[in-house]
Amino acid sequence: MIKTPKLATRLLFGLAAATASMAASVAAQAAELVIGEIHPITGPAAFYGLPESQAIKAAADEINTSGGVKVGNTSYQIVIKTADDQASPTVGVAALRKLLGEGAKFIIGPIASGVAPALKPIIESRPDVIQLIDGSIADGLTNGKTIFRNQASVQTYNDALTRLTKARAYPTVAIMTDRFHAGFMGSQKPLVDALEGQGNKVVAQEYHKLNDTDFAAQLTKIAALKPAALVLRGYPAEGALITKTARHLGYQGQVIWEFVSPPSTVLKNISSAEMEGVLNAIPPTSQDYVALGNEKALKLEARLKKMFNAEIGELSTLSYDAVYIFKAAIEKAGTLESTAVAKAFTQLKTTDVPMAINPYAPGEGGLLFTDGQVTLPGGVQIWKGNGWQPLANLKPN
């Protein structure tokens, strides 16, 4: 007689607890964290942007399946909203406004150095929006408050290049730059000064633009000057054509690239044999990490294959890391409130993002960002066979 009410009470409590737990679980499942991403999904720079977008979705999927982003007792599922900037400033501004209109306050991207400065005033006019740039290398983009970057700056690229040209002691250098590339054009003068300062005389500075196919005029002039090294700054499709044309015009010196160049894009315009020995002064890319057997990079490669049947892109690991950086900052802040998350960004340490693939060098106090910018080691790669390989020794063999 006595036992029955107790059992009933227990059952009632149990039922209530189960219901509450289920309700909490449903609530947790329904909790969404919107991250917007802006990349060139279509257009001439889509070979950069599409793999970046896919890597972001792969990271979000990985986080979501392993419990989501934990804020207090709530687990948020990441929802990625994609906007295509077509690597054009005007389209990029519209894309950003679209994302903001859809409620995205955390933004990853862009890659195009022409788009990033166009987005900056809009981001800065919205203190509730945080941007993490995973592609553009142009100077002056980060503010260390709401705009951060986990990609190297163009200065890192130039440092790698100047170390190489110094180590190899090229007496003369010619430079050919994409006139429309904001990052490269903005850093051209400091680069020339650095090269001249260390004894690499710059004998020619020529220009081209995206989608050009005829470089004979500039290269005829350069070939006649016989510089020891020809530095190309721009995009891979044009870089391949310039390298090919230079060789056809009899240029015998060292060709050095300074841009991310997926072999699949390069080999559309030049044969592997013609690329043999070309150097590239950039930080290690996603494909380098895969080639070096980095476990996390290999895992990402497998996930991209499974999800999209796509290869890993050269910048994929940066985009992948960007999602994990947001996760770390939000969890550190313990809220989705933008001011707190922005503050957490400034306090993040490299050790707070254990899933990051890129080896970000810790700043003062182990911080990930210094004035909104990470430190990534520069490097040099050499084309061998069908792709790039890290160059261990900067001195000529």
């Binding site: 279509t42 257009g43 295509d84 400033p89 519209a94 406004r97 209109g101 166009a118 054009m185």
Partner: protein, 333 residues
């Protein structure tokens, strides 16, 4: 009276309607609508030159850029008030336009188009070269937004849209005044037959120069507004093959020689790429096909198609009335 309603009251009523709808639109829609309005300003003013006077200028992308950079310089560096800078930017673009016109009107037909193409290319390069003024390829950053309109209490996106609509309204009314003026009539005569117009004693120099200056003024004003709304401008936005060519497409697709047709063209061609973002790789193809289609099958543009549809409807209504009328008469007997 009917003409006055069509010329002034309908655009004013449409402006009021659009302004009333503004608070109910989201930021993104308002931004796209703002861009459409700016393009419509360019299209209407360009139509005065292309559609009413018959001169195809490919230098107007540069004039749009002159207004944009002038706006940036005046408001961010010289600290001018936006409302003062806006007409001054129009005047600066107009002065540049008059210089271009003085050179270009020495030629005619295809040569005029080619010469303005060359000027457009030079202008675009100048935006790269004059780095101290334009920021070069890196762009001009930090242009202040337009100030809020008094009494409306709108946020930035809404404010931008209303200002763009107001500029479009002013452009449309001013274009209407121009085309109905003796200069407008002279422009039409030039378009039809310049030799005959000269023979009739029409002062063609004044008419076509005024048409060019008019279009340059509003291209400059639109550029200044575009710069203030974007807070940033880069040379890419003022290339001949993008902006210069697009103005021609807007007018041709909308309907040359009608002031309201180019507005429809601007709305269609601004919203289409936004709605078809997923197929943006094919946007140039779509533009080309649209232009080809309209040139071949509807040379008078959307405006022409609408007019044709309206007339057909009126004819159908009239024929129904005449068929029905005898029956009624018979019944009455």
């Amino acid at each position: 009276m009917q003409s006055r309603i069509r010329c002034y009251l309908i655009p004013t009523a449409l402006l009021a309607l659009a302004c009333a709808a503004t608070p109910f639109l989201n930021d993104y829609v308002r931004y796209v609508a703002t861009l459409a309005a700016i393009w419509a300003v360019l299209a209407v003013s360009f139509d005065v030159l292309l559609g009413y006077t018959g001169y195809l200028s490919l230098a107007h992308g540069t004039l749009f850029g002159v207004g944009a950079y002038a706006g940036g310089l005046l408001t961010s560096r010289a600290g001018w008030n936006f409302w003062l800078a806006l007409p001054v930017c129009g005047l600066i673009a107009m002065v540049v336009g008059i210089i271009v016109a003085l050179l270009a009107f020495r030629t005619k037909g295809l040569y005029f188009a080619v010469l303005t193409l060359g000027i457009g290319l030079i202008g675009h390069q100048m935006f790269f070269v004059a780095e101290d003024w334009t920021g070069g390829v890196v762009g001009f950053v930090g242009i202040p937004s337009p100030p809020p309109l008094p009494f409306l209490m709108l946020d930035s996106a809404g404010n931008n849209l209303i200002i763009s609509l107001l500029l479009l309204w002013v452009t449309y009314l001013a274009a209407g005044v121009f085309v109905r003026s003796p200069l407008g009539a002279a422009s039409l005569a030039i378009r039809e037959d310049v030799v005959l117009a000269q023979a009739l004693g029409i002062r063609i120099a004044a008419a076509r120069m005024t048409a060019f200056a008019f279009s340059a003024f509003f291209a400059g004003a639109a550029g200044a507004l575009f710069a203030a709304i974007s807070n940033f401008v880069a040379p890419e936005s003022f290339a001949v093959m993008t902006t210069g060519f697009q103005m021609v497409v807007l007018v041709v697709v909308g309907g040359m020689g009608t002031l309201w047709g180019p507005i429809l063209g601007a709305i269609l061609l601004t919203t289409l790429p936004e709605t078809l973002r997923v197929a943006s790789s094919y946007s140039l193809l779509a533009y080309g096909l649209l232009l080809l289609g309209f040139m071949l099958f509807a040379p008078s543009g959307i405006a022409g198609l609408l007019k044709k549809g309206w007339r057909a409807r009126q004819r159908r209504t009239a024929s129904t009335t005449t068929t029905v009328a005898p029956t009624v008469t018979e019944g009455a007997r």
